[in-house]
Symmetry: C2
Subunit: 747 residues, 2 copies
């Protein structure tokens, strides 16, 4: 929106700057109230330079990891600077102001123009200021930004005030200071009590994102890279590009809500272009990225133009970087079996035909194998206190985000209680977690009826990375009460009292016979067997007719093609379980595979004796071949290490236009290597030398991607020693083990 | 968003249609379960035609005012149609289905494909269906759409079902039926109990919108025109253009929320382009419109391209049409002294310099003289029941709607209680109603302090049109508890517990001296006097120094120029009131006037004895010259009436490029007459002949507009008699009086 005459626009760019004059005469200057002598004397003080004490302050503020030469502080905590004057500073006589300005229209009433004083005049403002020490002409000043202040890049000026006016230091970008949210300050909206939490959710710059299926969870590493050079500026650029008013940038709720909209290009030049088409030749495929750094730097270097392409974990990964970079505690969540594009009625409909085969034309709903979103930890001061804490925020552009839905923040604890009246977008997330799967079957006249309802399939498992570990933490219970518990029923009743349609298909009579689909971990390109276990919990023998549909699906659950349909009959004695085995040949599915190699199997069963039907489904994610990473040498700051990445094409077809990425915050900037083709049985070996820049635990991530093969990733952890430290033998041994051990990242 | 492979798109257009085959064979046709004889016999029934009984049903459904040849019904209420068969219908043997389809992907589970049955097969669906009467080959069928069903245009088919398959009637747009919300049905989300309410808020197609200032309220008539030809289709086009998924179109909350976004062009080709610049030569000036019909028809005829230009009352007027047209009870609200572009901190800052003069550079907030929004009456099923009823919705694009704010629906009763956690956008509306005005004054060093706080200025008066009257109804008490009451304090505390910043400038010591600005109704171009009344409530005599700043402002409160600054001194005895009079000459303000001719006066006072400051402000809206309308003839359907509109230019300057519009739903389509110039003292006379089409109380609206003169409007009510009725003398007399009486519309 352009600024127009007759209406007021809020300042909405951190980068736009207004000029302040170096000398600003007092409005009283021709009729001074002070005597000319006093004015002259006071004017004789002059600030020669300002030392922002960048190294010391950054260490104190736990911002030393940011690869950025400016001072970066967390609000609500004091930082100290040294002002050098041309003569000794007199606290009783002199009057010096420090000014912190942000944006093009700094205004004291808007928190965009902060003036604090030292010396004889005191100001009562939200930022605190004190003289810490005077040593001759050097004055150490302590400044504490208000714990609610705007987050962003402030310009700093020192102004000597006299009867004649204000004499300012010249504009100097080196004295700009970035102010961030502060998870260490109890007065901050985003305070976290435990240091271990803050280390993970604010400071960890690498992580893993879970995918695959709920009973075979796989991982991929992600370089969040919030401390990498240029990333903090890119995050502020995102806010500026979207014209987020500066006055809102101190409120975590609003920054988070904006962030959810801004990661996707659908809202005014956001960061990422979503694409689920399988055709990514005009950009980078969503599966090829190793982290956020490459994406955010590309976005910034190309004048805030959206980067192609992303799917849910890319949106979640980049949003996580944005949040942690600004100091907000954040994590990436994976919800397995996530109901999507749901109309809010908590129903996902699967249509079967007369024979129990999935009717592709009529089945329009889908359940994503997994969906990633983020959580941010904060006091939701706009909500009752019991709904504070972790909040869901989702930046994947969903069908409905055009109009009704922008996603989050919404309180996890309110979702659990079914309290869906509170802002923002809780109904949508609730449906992703709690929809029922309704199996319909049509008769010969096309008349359809409900044959089975599965209330447990959706939102099956919700996970996030454990603190200080790559294992997953099961956080399902923070979103949902146990299936079929009293509390769960109460939460559902609450949701219904908040406008969720009542589930009018209950009570639903069950057959007393259960079917379960079982599969092992299966490598892509191999034949395998599916077990259908039939449990007869009745007291009668039963004959059951079984129909299995096998489809190739996208991770979004959308069916690409049906490759298998098979019928079987079985007889099961009372209280017994029979297993029916169905063989799947690689040739059946290989030519149809799409994207992340997911197969969906739907089983329909009809119990002859009861004339009752039942149904179940199961996704099988095929494992891609391995990518191996070897590191040789001593991992030490400034010492060269050799990295060796290898891959063998196990298939009988050529892999074309292969991209191989190597990435590791603190170790190496994202490297991209391209291979035109890899022949059947052929292999590639990629060697790279790296010189670690930062000590501590680092992760090296490799990712291979081409249109026929996605999700081939691996990572290796490296403990980098300080530059001059002597190697401890045990560490070296460990490192050696790693060289031997490195394996595909599947747990 | 384009539909992409691998993801599912919800159907989102009422106009996109899928084809249904006229004959659909049974899937069982080669292996029929029925005997061949049965199949053949059943197949011999054929539906020859369908009579939608448009006139009878429309009268029953109170939709007969819609100028549209199709059937229009309100959901939840039965309508009857007659199917003509080729032989007598047999309820025991025959099986006939009626199908109602909407959009391109009709689906029984989504409410976009409704199948109801008559005859031997019954279906259990949400729409009810019964055979009302059989007369030979004619069957009268009663159909009751579900009270929660999708609102829009459904295609109708009759299908005879036999063992061979379904034989459908051919596609025929004449049998399409529009289904609307139903304020008459207690089961509907938008039910209103009182017929008087429904008559006004659903059925009244003309209204008045209030503007001016809170103590000199003025009106302009607005042609909502929801029944005019093409308007209903235009409203559905708006939803289609924005790709509002069909499945959401049965939920009033969601239709209303979408409506708020869709009236403005900032959200994907919405209806109107906002413009507050004063430069409207590339479109129609916001003040020149007489109603919604012209705008919506222009939008539709130009392929859903946004119409230029609008300001708040135009947005509110067109949204009101959209809502009433779809059957939602709605009304236009005016909030006088509406705080805008507020950062949500409930503060509007006015900066004065040392001398008490308004500092234009530093005063960035503004208070709109008035702001219009809408209310919709509904059960907010997503909120606790106490927050049902009238809901605020605002389609004026506000600075912040880009990111955080889309406005409403938000519960009026929740706003009153300060309960701001509930969706949608309550904090923003609360600030519009409850901000404090903070007067700051800078000293000679630029150091600013708060000198006065006015808690009563904002949200001063909230009005809407009375039912069956053009008087306004004061509904301030539905939004706010009385100023300074205990309940008001409690509501403010509730708001603070919901994250509204605490008002840390309290308790604020008051001077014990009050100033009040008083002005009469003033005609544009005249000299006038302002009275400043100074009330001394202390027990001491006081000397007060007064400074008056006079600014020309837009109705948005944004200052265009300062035309007056005057100082006065006064002495007021204890418990006395003194009046200081300041004269304003027309020459002082005339050359600076903008738009709606608003002058803002800010008074600063300093009480010498107490060294305390106080401040107040007041907007004066100058009245434009009169536009007169005369109607001669007998107002009767089909009989010609003569309309005479006259205007005299009272100024000493030429009025250029003058537009004159004449409009009146049921009387005349919007007529536009252009005059290149009107000389000083010159007048125009515009004659038009009209032939009323509909009987009942009608309003004829005239509006004259040019860049030097805005808001010149008038209207006249005409009671149109039925075509063949004899005139009642009393009515004629009344009409004659009106011809004499017609006056400028200012009360």
């Amino acid at each position: 929106m352009k600024r127009v005459v007759g209406r007021y626009s809020l300042a909405n760019s951190n980068l736009d700057e207004s000029e302040l004059p170096e000398f600003e005469p007092s409005s009283d200057v021709w009729n001074p109230r002070g005597t000319p002598d006093e004015a002259t004397q006071a004017a004789s003080l002059s600030a020669l330079s300002v030392d922002m004490r960048v190294t010391e302050n950054k260490a104190e503020h736990i911002t030393d990891k940011y690869n950025n030469s400016n001072l970066i502080v967390r609000r609500g905590k004091e930082f100290t600077i040294i002002i050098k004057f041309d003569r000794a500073f007199d606290e009783e006589q002199d009057n010096v102001e420090m000014e912190f300005l942000i944006g093009s229209a700094p205004n004291e009433n808007k928190g965009t123009y902060i003036i604090v004083s030292i010396g004889k005049e005191k100001r009562d403002v939200s930022w605190k200021c004190r003289v810490v020490n005077i040593e001759g002409k050097d004055v150490t000043v302590g400044i504490t930004p208000d714990p609610k202040c705007i987050v962003g890049r402030f310009r700093t000026f020192v102004a000597v005030v006299s009867g004649l006016g204000k004499q300012r230091t010249p504009k100097n970008p080196d004295t700009d200071v970035y102010v961030l949210f502060n998870a260490w300050d109890p007065a901050d909206q985003v305070y976290m009590e435990k240091e271990e939490d803050r280390q993970e959710y604010v400071l960890n710059d690498v992580g893993v994102i879970y995918n695959g299926e709920f009973n075979n969870v796989t991982v991929r590493s992600w370089n969040y890279g919030q401390f990498e050079q240029g990333v903090l500026d890119a995050c502020l650029l995102v806010l500026d590009t979207a014209k987020v008013p500066l006055v809102f940038r101190g409120n975590a709720t609003e920054v988070v809500r904006q962030g959810s909209a801004l990661m996707n290009a659908q809202d005014d030049d956001g960061v990422l272009v979503g694409n689920w088409s399988g055709e990514y030749s005009t950009g980078t495929s969503p599966t090829a990225w190793t982290g956020s750094t490459e994406i955010l730097l590309k976005y910034a270097s190309e004048g805030a133009s959206p980067v192609a392409f992303a799917q849910c974990w890319v949106f979640a990964g980049v949003l996580n970087t944005f949040l942690r970079c600004l100091g907000l505690p954040a994590r990436v969540i994976t919800n397995f079996c996530s109901a999507h594009d749901n109309t809010g009625n908590l129903k996902t409909d699967i249509e079967l035909d007369e024979d129990g085969k999935v009717d592709k034309g009529k089945t329009r709903d889908s359940i994503w194998n997994y969906h990633c979103w983020n959580e941010v930890y904060m006091k939701r001061t706009d909500l009752p206190e019991k709904y504070w804490g972790w909040q869901v925020v989702d930046s994947t552009p969903q069908e409905t985000s055009d109009g009704l839905y922008r996603c989050g923040p919404t309180s996890v604890s309110a979702l659990k209680e079914g309290e869906l009246s509170y802002q923002f977008d809780s109904r949508f997330v609730f449906a992703e977690l709690n929809s029922d799967v309704i199996y319909h079957q049509s008769d010969e006249n096309g008349k359809s009826k409900i044959i089975y309802v599965d209330t447990a399939y959706v939102g099956r498992l919700i996970v996030t990375k454990k603190r200080n570990s790559n294992e997953y933490e099961d956080i399902t219970s923070s979103y949902k009460y146990p299936e079929a518990s009293l509390k769960e029923r109460e939460a559902m009743q609450m949701a219904e009292s908040r406008g969720v349609p009542t589930r009018d298909y209950f009570p639903f009579t069950e057959a007393g016979v259960d079917i379960e689909l079982q599969a092992d971990v299966i490598k892509m390109g191999e034949d395998f067997k599916l077990n259908i276990n039939i449990k007869n919990q009745t007291t009668e023998k039963c004959n059951i007719h079984i129909a299995l549909t096998g489809c190739v699906v996208f991770y979004t659950g959308v069916t690409s093609s049906v490759f298998k349909f098979e019928n079987k009959d079985a007889t099961v004695e009372p209280s017994q379980t029979e297993t029916v085995q169905i063989s799947i040949q690689a040739v059946e599915y290989m030519r149809n595979l799409v994207e992340q190699s997911n197969l969906l199997f739907v089983v329909y069963g009809n119990v002859e004796e009861l004339n009752q039907s039942l149904s179940t489904m199961r996704v099988v994610t095929l494992r891609p071949p391995e990518l191996t990473i070897q590191v040789t040498g001593t991992p030490q700051v400034g010492t060269e290490l050799m990295v060796n990445v290898e891959f063998l094409n196990p298939y009988n077809f050529i892999l074309k236009n292969v991209q191989l990425r190597l990435d590791g915050p603190g170790l190496i900037k994202t490297k991209l290597k391209k291979y035109r083709q890899i022949f059947p049985g052929g292999s590639i070996k990629y060697k790279e030398s790296i010189i670690p820049q930062v000590h501590g635990k680092k992760t090296l991530i490799a990712c291979l991607d081409c249109s026929a093969l996605r999700q081939v990733t691996n990572q290796i952890e490296i403990d980098v020693l300080k530059a001059m430290d002597k190697l401890v033998t045990r560490e070296t041994d460990k490192e050696k083990e790693r060289v031997v051990e490195n394996e595909n990242n599947n747990p």
